[in-house]
């Protein structure tokens, strides 16, 4: 179990939050998807990074302010390395040290 610091409400228990899986997966634009092959669609829809290490992921404060945000979290230690707003790019994290 871990504490997640909601950017809007502060540190709260994990089970107040819902998990939104991998962050920064960009939906192709209508112009792009006219051109895309089925294999490229599969990459977008289904294929995931699933790293053993730092994972950039989305969480939602379901039992609080109900707002979405991004988290960088280590998938072995569960250490939360960054919390940042939706729409912001993933921060640089020295994955070697972690």
């Amino acid at each position: 179990m871990f504490l997640i610091t909601c950017p809007y409400c502060g540190a709260r228990d994990e089970h107040e939050f819902g998990y939104g899986h991998e962050a920064h997966i960009v939906r192709p634009t209508p112009a792009e998807y006219e051109q895309m092959s089925d294999a490229e669609w599969a990459q977008y829809l289904f294929m995931r990074k699933n790293p053993k290490g730092v994972h950039f992921e989305r969480w939602v404060h379901t039992k609080g302010c109900r707002r979405w945000f991004n988290v960088a979290r280590h998938t072995v230690t569960h250490e939360i390395l960054a919390v940042y707003e939706m729409g912001k790019p993933a921060p640089q994290i020295d994955t070697e040290k972690k």
């Binding site: 089925d38 669609w41 294929m47 995931r48 053993k52 569960h78």
Partner: protein, 417 residues
Amino acid sequence: MKQRYSIFSLVRNALNYHADWQEAWRSPDPKPAYDVIIIGGGGHGLATAYYLAKEHGITNVAILEKGWIGGGNTGRNTTIVRSNYLWDESAHLYEHALKLWEGLSQDLNYNVMFSQRGIMNLAHTVHDMQALRRRVYAIQLNGIDSEILTPAQIKELVPMLDCSPNARYPIMGASFQRRGGTARHDAVAWGYARGADERGVDIIQNCEVTGFKIVNGTVQGVETTRGFIGAKKVGVVVAGHSGVIAGMAGFRLPLESHPLQALVSEPIKPILDTVVMSPQVHVYVSQSDKGELVLGAGIDAFNSYAQAGSPPIVENQLNALCDLFPAFSRLRMMRQWGGIVDTCPDASPIIGKTPVQNLFINCGWGTGGFKATPGSGNVFAHTIARGEPHPLAVPFALERFTTGYLIDEHGAAGVAH
């Protein structure tokens, strides 16, 4: 040749204070190269090697295991075996496995303690009952045993269950597969290991694969913590670490790794002689031969490789257990542990070729692959040996995420491992 295990060998060895048992498998050093390397010494990897040797005559095989055999999900699971899946593709695959389970102890000359004690799925709402009927009839149409029980029949089979209409989640009925049940997880790994070793397969433990040698899109061998080992073909069967291994080979999978945990209680007198699952109230439970209740529920929602489940899941499943079986509220839980399961978007496995030539993968079994161990190894061995998928494995190819031919078994998985 391995000594045969039998009642007589047991008695003979008992007279020697069990000092003279032959080793069940060797621990050889890796050779420079093999015809086939299997990465992952879980039940599925060991079964694959066993059937490669037994059914395809391919014996120049090594199993590379980073820890000890059976130390992954194979040795951490709650051992529920069943074949009552909704879709034809899954029904045929899991039934193939169940048929192999039925003769496995004899085939391996190793008691895997397969116990067909039946498996019961409870329904608590009208909607549950409708979904359950649809499933049971579909399963029957595939020629697989499955039946619907009334609350009175349930009560007769499991007297401890709170079947009163006043229960918080009243029980309206259940599906029942009598041929389902449980098996001894370690014995499955050890039995396959012994059988594979007997046929010449090298089982190499404490040997982690750290990379691949791929030339012109074709795999040539693997880098390991014990050096480079060449291979004509490589089969990957690493469950929760499938994404990590795929990353080493330069492709991605539609998988996420999540913790799934289990608990056992202190041992008690025989009280439950079948497996009871409730997908709604969210717990499942059986009683081991030692008398412990073995129970589990769902995964942690977040990606993790930590091999430990989080406390809220424990709390929810214990609440559910006490709702269904009020008498169990007196029990103490003895141990709790987690494994890392590879969940797939359609809750079905991936078996077959990869973008790399001669590199095959068998993964995505998620929360429910123990039951498939013999069938999975059997069809994967065929797939590796022939270079083409076994007929039962065809629908489970990685390409289904491109074609859109998903095999959505969420209803069957979820809690129902």
